[in-house]
Symmetry: C2
Subunit: 245 residues, 2 copies
C-alpha cells in the first residue's frame, strides 16, 4: 500500500497542474513534497473529518470524490460542495482552526494531507507556492459564488442542467469524458446541494431523458445533447463563465 503512494510523487502526479506544485521549480516541488503526508485511501462513507474537529491540515483530492456538508442543531444536513481530484478541502477551517463542515468520501478515494502550519511556513519561503495557494483559494470562493447563484431564483430544470454541466466541465478538465460519467453522489445529495427534494431531482432527470437530452441509468449519465443542455442554462450564466464543450 504505502509503496504505491510513495511512487506517485508530486512531480509525476496526474493532477500536479491543478494542485500546489503548479508553477514551482523542481527544487521547490521537492520542498513541498517533504511536508505532504500521503493518506491511505478513504473508503465510501468514511468521514475525513467532522464539523468542529480541530483542524491541523487541508486535504487535496487525488482520486475519487467527497461531499462536504454542515449539520444544523437538529442534525439536518446541508451539502456545501462536492470535491473532485485537484480540489482542496478544509479551507473553511482558516477562520478559527476548526472545520466548519464535515467531509465524507462518496467512493474509494485517495488524497494528500497538507499540515497547515508547515504549508504556511513554506508559503512564506516560496512566493510562487503562496500565489498558487491563493489561486486555489480563489477557485474555492468562485465555486461558492456559483453555488449561491445556482440556489437563488433558478428553476428546478435550470438547477439540474447546471449541475450536470458543472460536472461535465470538471470531468473534462480532468481529462475524462465530458459526456459520459458516473455520478458518485446519491439523488439525496444532489437534491440537497441544489436546494430541491429528491423527487424533484428524479423528475427533472426523467424529463431530460424524455427529451432525449441525456440518458440516465442509475448513477450513469450520458449527455446526448450538450448543446440543448447549455441552452437551458445559458440565460442565467454569469458573464465570465465559459463552459467547456
Amino acid at each position: 500500500m504505502e509503496s504505491i503512494f510513495h511512487k506517485t510523487d508530486c512531480l509525476h502526479c496526474r493532477i500536479a497542474d491543478l494542485c500546489l506544485p503548479h508553477g514551482l521549480s523542481g527544487d521547490e516541488v521537492s520542498k513541498l513534497e517533504s511536508i505532504v503526508r500521503r493518506k491511505l485511501p478513504a473508503k465510501p462513507d468514511e468521514y475525513l473529518y467532522r464539523q468542529q474537529d480541530l483542524a491541523h491540515s487541508v486535504f487535496m483530492v487525488k482520486t475519487g470524490s467527497f461531499r462536504s456538508f454542515v449539520s444544523d442543531t437538529n442534525g439536518v444536513e446541508q451539502t456545501i460542495g462536492f470535491y473532485l481530484p485537484g480540489e482542496l478541502m478544509g479551507l473553511d477551517a482558516l477562520e478559527n482552526g476548526r472545520y466548519h463542515c464535515s467531509v465524507i468520501a462518496l467512493e474509494s478515494a485517495t488524497l494528500c494531507e497538507l499540515p497547515l502550519p508547515r504549508l504556511q511556513d513554506l508559503c512564506s519561503k516560496i512566493p510562487s507556492l503562496q500565489s498558487q495557494l491563493m489561486h486555489i483559494i480563489g477557485r474555492e470562493i468562485l465555486s461558492e459564488h456559483d453555488h449561491i447563484v445556482l440556489l437563488s431564483k433558478r428553476s428546478a430544470r435550470e438547477k439540474m442542467a447546471t449541475f450536470l454541466l458543472m460536472l461535465s466541465t470538471r470531468y473534462k478538465m480532468l481529462g475524462f469524458s465530458s459526456t459520459e460519467f458516473n455520478l458518485s453522489m446519491r439523488r439525496d445529495d444532489i437534491a440537497n446541494f441544489l436546494g430541491l427534494t429528491i423527487e424533484t431531482v428524479s423528475r427533472q432527470l426523467t424529463d431530460l431523458s424524455k427529451n432525449g437530452i441525456i440518458t440516465v441509468k442509475q448513477r450513469s449519465i450520458h449527455i446526448n445533447n450538450l448543446h440543448s443542455l447549455k441552452e437551458i442554462v445559458e440565460p442565467c450564466l454569469p458573464q465570465h463563465f465559459a463552459l467547456a464543450n
Copy 2:
C-alpha cells in the same frame, strides 16, 4: 479631505482588530501601514470596481457599506454579499486576477486599498500578517457557507429573520446597537440576496411587525423581541453558530 484620512492610521483605527493589524507588533503595523492606500470616500451607488476588471488590490471597508453582485448574460444581477466595516472585498479576484463580482457603495463609505502584490510580499515577511489574512479569508468562506445554507430550503420567514439577525450580530460586533439600525440596502437588494421577491420581503417585514417582533419604518429597523426572532431561526442554525444577544 486627505488629512482626515492620514490621521486615522492603522494603530488608531476603530476596526483594527477586525482588520489585518490584528496580532501584529507596532513595528509590523507600520510596515503594513506603508503599503496601505487610503481611498477617498465612496459615494452612494458608486462602483468600487466591476466584474471582469483587472484586480490589483483588495479593499477593507472602514465605514459605510457595500454590495457585491454578479450579472448574468442578460444583465440580471445576483447579490453575493453585503460588506460592513472590517470586511475585506475583492478576494474573488484571487483566482485569475480579475474581479468576479461588481461592488457598489450603498451609502457614503470609506475604505483602505491593499495592493495585492505588496500585501503578498509582506505576508511572506510577517508570519502573523499571513495568519491574519488567512483568518479573514476563512471568515469570507464561512459567510458564503452561511449564505448557501440560507438560500437552500429555508422559508421566506426564516430567511428574513436570519437576515435581520445576521445584521444585528454584525452591528453588535462593530460596537453599534444590535436592536436598532438602519438598513443601508433597498428592499430589492435584500430580496435578491435572499432569493425572494421584493413583495415577499415586504410581506415578511410587515408580518414580523404585526407580531410585534420588530418595528419597521422605511429603512429603520427596531428589534423589539430578539428572542422571538431567534426562535424563528433557531431550528436551522448550524451548530457552530452562536448569535450575539
